[in-house]
């Protein structure tokens, strides 16, 4: 097909890898689109971008984007991203992670990244199930939802990742669903511009596993469910916890300014340097 007739976002993708392996109607593609839109709005240099991901369906996203990317071990993308950011604080580091990756196996890295307030943006694609391995219940599966490890419905209460990360000290936290693409791209833009740990949770659809096991077989049904059951945070704050059962609270959870970790570290290195010329930061890039 003629390149003039292609989607304008195609210039950011690795053409030889397409079409993606995602299922028809998977939310990961929408997250990709909204990320590009947010990146364009935030005026981030695409050449300066560094994407880090762990293991899972959503962690395959950086593999399709033609910029520097790291595909790391399960649950550890925030640890790798911390290293990338400290080695060269000028990089814009973005972590793509799933709910199993960020909340289950990498939960500690997530809360400690937020505690440090290091300037990275974490986009967590929360599809409420382990999609890649066959539909097991994940820490964010809603109570009563079905999965291959919960044939009678999940008994545990789900993790609210945005509340967790807010409590751990992140400076920008927002949650939207893939049925709100405009709001989501604005949140990603604010997250990229924020100097500090930014966490954008995207409630996404997995029609293949979550939808099939929970009587929402098509992506359209899943997205309509997300659109109907989402409630703005300002409204949800006035309601009781029992009234919010089965609802998705969306909106901005946190937006504040606090001292940032790499800034503090660079200042410390400069202050304590005896030779007068600190070499530990960006030394690999400057040939020093």
């Amino acid at each position: 097909m003629d390149r003039k007739m292609e989607n304008p976002l195609m210039k950011y993708l690795r053409r030889d890898r397409l079409p993606t392996i995602f299922c028809a109607g998977c939310g990961n593609g929408i997250v990709m689109n909204t990320f590009f839109k947010g990146m364009e709005m935030a005026e981030i240099d695409f050449e300066n971008l560094m994407l880090v991901s762990g293991i899972g369906c959503s962690s395959r996203i950086p593999g399709y984007i033609s910029c520097d990317s790291l595909h790391t071990t399960h649950g550890r993308p925030i640890a790798f991203a911390t290293g990338v950011k400290l080695a060269n604080p000028e990089h814009d580091v973005v972590v793509f992670s799933g709910d199993g990756d960020a909340a289950a196996i990498g939960g500690n890295h997530l809360i400690h990244g937020a505690r440090r307030n290091i300037n990275i943006t974490v986009i967590c694609v929360n599809n409420s199930i382990y999609g890649m391995t066959g539909g097991q219940i994940s820490p964010t599966s809603p109570r009563g939802s079905y999965g291959s490890t919960a044939p009678y419905g999940a008994l545990e209460r789900p993790f609210s990742l945005s509340d967790l990360v807010t409590a751990a000290g992140a400076t920008y936290v927002a949650r939207w669903t893939t049925a709100h693409p405009i709001q989501l791209s604005n949140a990603i833009k604010k997250g990229l511009q924020n100097k500090g740990f930014s966490f954008v949770e995207v409630v996404s659809q997995c029609p293949t596993y979550f939808g099939r096991k929970n009587k929402m077989r098509t992506p359209i049904e899943m997205m309509q469910w997300m659109k109907e059951s989402s409630i703005l945070k300002i409204k949800a704050d006035k309601l009781e916890e029992s009234e919010l059962e089965g609802k998705i609270v969306v909106g901005e959870f946190q937006d504040k300014v606090e001292p940032e970790f790499t800034d503090n570290l660079c200042k410390l290195v400069e202050a304590k340097c005896v030779t007068g010329k600190p070499t530990s930061i960006r030394s690999a890039y400057m040939g020093g």
Partner: protein, 69 residues
């Protein structure tokens, strides 16, 4: 003008549902991949809001800014 790239479209038909002006309609016939590709039948209604290009998970839709060519 709206173009749907059949090479990338996987037939999820999210665009047919989420277009606020119902520009798209699911095709009656299956294509060679065995999917129902959306067809922009009501192109004159399109306001070029760009929601379909954002919501398409496979980057298959292009909406031209100007109506010529």
């Amino acid at each position: 003008m709206i173009t749907v790239n059949e090479k990338f479209c996987k037939g999820c038909n999210l665009c047919t549902e989420f277009c606020p002006l119902n520009v798209y309609e699911k095709s009656k016939k299956l294509n060679k991949k065995g999917i129902h590709v959306p067809v922009p039948i009501n192109q004159e209604k399109c306001t070029k809001c760009g929601l379909c290009t954002l919501i398409c998970p496979d980057q298959a839709i292009k909406v031209d800014e100007n109506n010529e060519d």
